[in-house]
């Protein structure tokens, strides 16, 4: 096997060092100004961006798959700001109290309440905001120690609970709500 060299004598060490130096420097410049901006969006010098080579962050969402009207209807965006509240009520034997949230038709909250020290009788209900005195009851229970769920307001008004302590001991009701209502208050 005969291998022919480009030159009869190999290049000198300084020649080699210079050649490698040139290769490293040019490779570094090309990498930093072109390859890294274009391939990884890494652009330490800003040159990639200025020559239009900076790759923008890629979207991971396939926008070509349509959202059906039925699917879109599962999401509603009420005007009220999102908020979370926690309230406690202590009820003496025989005492009753209400907490209600003011909200518009179609908006929702997620709720969970628990009773410490006993049980309560409750009525989850709403009253119309139009002043007609109309009411609607959503859930009722006796000797209840807790309840939780999601509530969707069927009309504009105040929606919440009336709890009454029918035991011989004082009880404490702790209510947590998260959702879209403008006000939540003890009545």
């Amino acid at each position: 096997m005969t291998l022919m060299r480009s030159e009869p004598t190999p290049p000198t060490v300084p020649q080699l060092a210079r050649a490698i130096g040139v290769a490293v420097v040019i490779a570094g410049i090309v990498l930093v100004t072109a390859v890294l901006p274009a391939e990884y969006g890494i652009d330490p010098t800003g040159i990639g961006s200025s020559i239009g080579l900076l790759r923008p962050p890629a979207s991971a969402i396939d926008m070509t798959i349509p959202v059906t009207p039925e699917a879109a209807a599962t999401v509603s965006r009420p005007e009220a700001a999102f908020r979370s509240d926690e309230m406690t009520l202590t009820l003496k034997p025989g005492e009753g109290a209400e907490i209600k949230a003011t909200m518009v038709k179609g908006s929702s909250y997620v709720f969970s309440w628990t009773v410490a020290g006993g049980t309560v009788e409750f009525d989850m209900h709403g009253e119309y905001a139009d002043g007609t005195g109309g009411e609607a009851s959503y859930a009722k229970g006796e000797e209840a120690a807790s309840d939780r769920g999601t509530f969707h307001a069927p009309f504009d008004g105040r929606h919440g609970w009336f709890w009454q302590n029918l035991t011989w001991q004082p009880v404490t009701v702790t209510l947590k709500t998260s959702g879209f209502y403008t006000k939540i208050e003890k009545l």
């Binding site: 096997m1 291998l3 022919m4 060299r5 480009s6 030159e7 190999p10 290049p11 000198t12 060490v13 080699l16 050649a19 490698i20 040139v22 290769a23 490293v24 040019i26 490779a27 570094g28 090309v30 990498l31 072109a34 390859v35 890294l36 274009a38 391939e39 990884y40 890494i42």
Partner: protein
């Protein structure tokens, strides 16, 4: 002169061509693979991998830079093929995954090595030239590990696995022959010109530069991947 500039331009243009020639096996190629033996599909994918893998072509360009006889070229290609067949079979059969970025960085450095060799660097520094045939065989081993890792991305079925790997290997050889033919023709014209010997050194500096770019590109890719993994596990 114009020929040389043309070739240098070609060398520079290929790595910049981007995704169209991206190394590795394209995601859409996965659709080609179903179940069982698929000789033609794996043959094609193997050949495509070599012909469109600019790092492989760059390495081959370096290897045959000073090879004039077809017999020599055939010997070197065979040594390379034997090397990468061993590790390709081993990687797939044993399920070995090597980080593709690392392998591709090594391939980039193998381009640097070969360019340095062609520049007469080893002859100058060591006083002798390291066995070029052994070097080609060893680089074949690394290339095979990368191929094996990429081939496993296709979630191969056990059914017809070995025939499929062999078909992929044969495809890699076919792709090499195709790529080398193109390079040999271009080199043939270049060698006939009187400028060849004068510009061989400079051309290998260009090849070395491309090798450094490839290695840097892959190493940064590896670091980016590591950073992402660290962030995800936090």
């Amino acid at each position: 002169m114009t020929r040389i500039f043309g070739l240098v331009l070609l060398l520079l243009a290929v790595p910049l061509a981007g995704d169209a020639l991206a190394h590795g096996v394209a995601a859409s190629d996965k659709d080609l693979i179903t179940q069982g033996r698929q000789f033609a599909v794996f043959l094609y994918l193997g050949a495509k991998h070599m012909v469109t893998g600019y790092d492989h072509l760059l390495f081959l360009f370096g290897v045959i830079f000073f090879l004039y006889r077809l017999k020599e070229v055939a010997l070197y290609v065979t040594l390379f093929a034997v090397g990468h067949s061993i590790t390709l079979l081993y990687a797939v059969l044993s399920g070995t995954h090597v980080n593709p970025f690392i392998i591709d960085a090594i391939i980039g450095l193998s381009v640097v090595y070969k360019a340095f060799d062609n520049m007469g660097g080893f002859t100058r520094l060591l006083g002798f030239q390291p066995n070029t045939r052994l070097a080609v065989w060893i680089f074949g081993l690394f290339h095979g590990l990368g191929l094996g890792t990429k081939l496993q991305d296709f979630s191969l079925s056990a059914d017809g696995l070995v025939p499929n790997i062999l078909a992929f290997n044969v495809g890699v050889e076919l792709g090499q022959v195709l790529g080398l033919s193109a390079i040999l023709i271009a080199m043939g014209f270049w060698r006939r010109s009187t400028g060849f010997h004068r510009h061989a050194f400079a051309a290998n500096v260009v090849v070395m530069t491309c090798g450094f770019i490839l290695a840097g590109y892959q190493l940064v890719g590896y670091l980016t991947q590591m950073t992402q993994i660290t962030q995800m596990t936090r």
